[in-house]
Amino acid sequence: MKRLDILVAGVGGQGTILASDILAEVGMLAGYDVKKSDVLGLAVRGGSVLSHVRWGEKVASPVISPGMANFLLGFEPLEALRVIPYLSLESTVLVNTRVVPPVSVSSGNMDYPSLDAIERALRAACRKFFSFDATAVAEKLGTARVANLVMLGAFSTQVEVPFEIWEDVILARVPAKYRDLNLRAFHAGRELLKGGLQ
């Protein structure tokens, strides 16, 4: 079985942990050995969140080493750029273009790098690059909170895992009354990359 190392980078409150939990569960049900590690910092208070998800025949370490990530799911542009050392020319990168400004920018004196510069840096560092406003897609469905499922939907087009597994895991992991909304977000994400948007 091919080893798949997936990084999920975002900001506290974006649902990155739920997304990486789903990724890990999907990997296990698809027959992989799975390990996952989260670095939360003080996530609830707006900190950076980075999850390592590893699928493989047999996975020892729960963390991915620099230059070894097969996939990066950047839930926020700056957070994607921050973890660029994990990428290689083999990597596929999916980035949500919606900016969540850090306090050091919104009320302090720091500057947020331009989206162009972020995209250029990431594009040069990987093999396949996709960027889209996953938050806007989620908002159209009713709430920005399901942008995480939009990201997962987009990612699902890049790996060969039976669709039913995704669906089962999502249904099991999200609150009952938001099941339909989350599934719609997942589908919307799949649609985004089906046309090969790049």
């Binding site: 939990d21 799975v34 390990k35 996952k36 707006g46 020892a60 370490s61 963390v63 994990y86």
Partner: protein, 598 residues
Amino acid sequence: MRKALLLGNEAIARGAYEAGIQVATGYPGTPSSEILETIAKEYGKEIYAEWSTNEKVAMDAAVGAAYSGRRALVTTKQVGMNVLADSLMYAVYTGSEAGLVVVTADDPGMFSSQNEQDNRWYAKLAKVPLLEPADSQEAKDFVIHAIEISERFDTPVVIRTTMRVSHSKGVVTLGERPPVPKEVGPFPRNQKKYVMTAMWARERHPVVEERIKALAAYAEESPLNWAEYRDRKLGIVTSGVTYAYVREVFPQASVLKLGMTYPLPRNLILEFAKNVEELIVVEELDPFLEEQIRALGVKVRGKDIFPPCGELLPERIAELAAEAGLLPAEKVPRPANHAPEGLPERIPVLCPGCPHRSTFFVLAKLKVPVAGDIGCYNLGCLPPFNAQHTMGCMGASIGVLHGMAIAGLPERAVATIGDSTFFHSGMAPLANMVHNGSRGVVIIMDNGTTAMTGHQDHPGTQWTLHGQPAKAIDIEKVVRAMGVEKVRVVNAFDVKEVENGLKDCLAYEGVSVLITRGLCVQVSKAHGGIYWVDVNACIACGTCFRLGCPAIVKSEVKNPKTGANKAAIDPTLCVGCDACRQVCPVGAIHAPEGKEER
């Protein structure tokens, strides 16, 4: 067989279930909190679980349950072990009627701790067996082993995880719960075993020494320790999550994997050392294994290659091993790209609507020295407040404040401590201040929860860990009963009230307590509507920015005279706590239409 993907901490909870544990206690602390939360949530019918007031209380309660015949488990974060240790020491002398396990979740890398202590030393100090799981499967299995060892040798057992084990998920094969006793008692009247008065404790000490020898013999045969022979040029001794890293970095090397790291299996180590050309130890933090192995007369390297600070992630192990000539340089994973220098960090901030904000705004304004404590309110040490000048450990603030007073400091000083921390270890130092006629203001920031670790309940709240109603202890009555004569209770969401209360207390000659009361916004989910800034009225004075609220952002519009950015409010973040409206000197910030402005 049923499999599940579990966090290390969830796996420990499952292990408690499968080990027939019936009582579980602890105090919240990262990275350990999920253990008791999972026990209460998933196995609450089978296992009694509680948040105790502090780790020592938790340990004594578990000891009492184990004396009474119930298998018991205690959880603590790394530094909580220091609080718990006093009770661990006597429990090692007494043993117990049923199994007793202490889980300490250590924090190499200091993601949420004030130091980077290696709790494995406690095993050596207390003479207690120590197990170190490497992943979730072992985290579960080791609880079962720990109970077996505990009951076979009549000793508490310590399980030590690290953040990477506790907070990583892995696939776990699930087992069943064994039969457990329904009834217990009568309580053993075995004074020579359970009363550690000096004359009887003296008789127990040789028992402890004999026991640790027996445990060392057990370690030789234990299924928790094994040697994996591959290429014999390099042999690596390791334990815990570092084992996983070693397997990835040195797939060809022979490995001695130690699941039981105290007491060590002497013969197994000597044999492994004999069978490999070069022996190294890869362990995070202190040379705990290395020093003991060297004491066996074995030539071994370790801390001269791998430093004692921080996590030893695979890439770091590889890089250091390559520098030491143990790995070809091309085997070191190297990033092809580096993140640009100076990217804006996401430093933690008090949430919008946080009840602590007003207190730090006022403390910064009054410029008094502040002895701080452990909790969200430690964020008061950061800009824009810079209003916390010491912070050491749970409960230290009040003792340090007293020290400032007896040192004869001419300034009026303040201690800040949360409600949960006050119950944990703030009451004894406050009693000390009263008794010794001290001077200073103790601010008890009562947000009705243990916020920093994930909003657990405590003796001042109305719920237990099992969700049962509890009697909430009134902090005001407690401090008055302790003899504090000057006590003020203020609304934390009223900045002026906080300022007046603090000034009043600062003017008082003795010990005073200011209780700033306001529910944690993550618990109350309070939303007072979205506020807005009248951009024409705003003079860009920057006062509201000094609240350090993430919802208050720089507007594009500038004051033409000063060039300073005016303020704006991010409608997605504002929860309408009203603090900014209260501090604005020109009345430029407004509540949403229809909301009465105080």
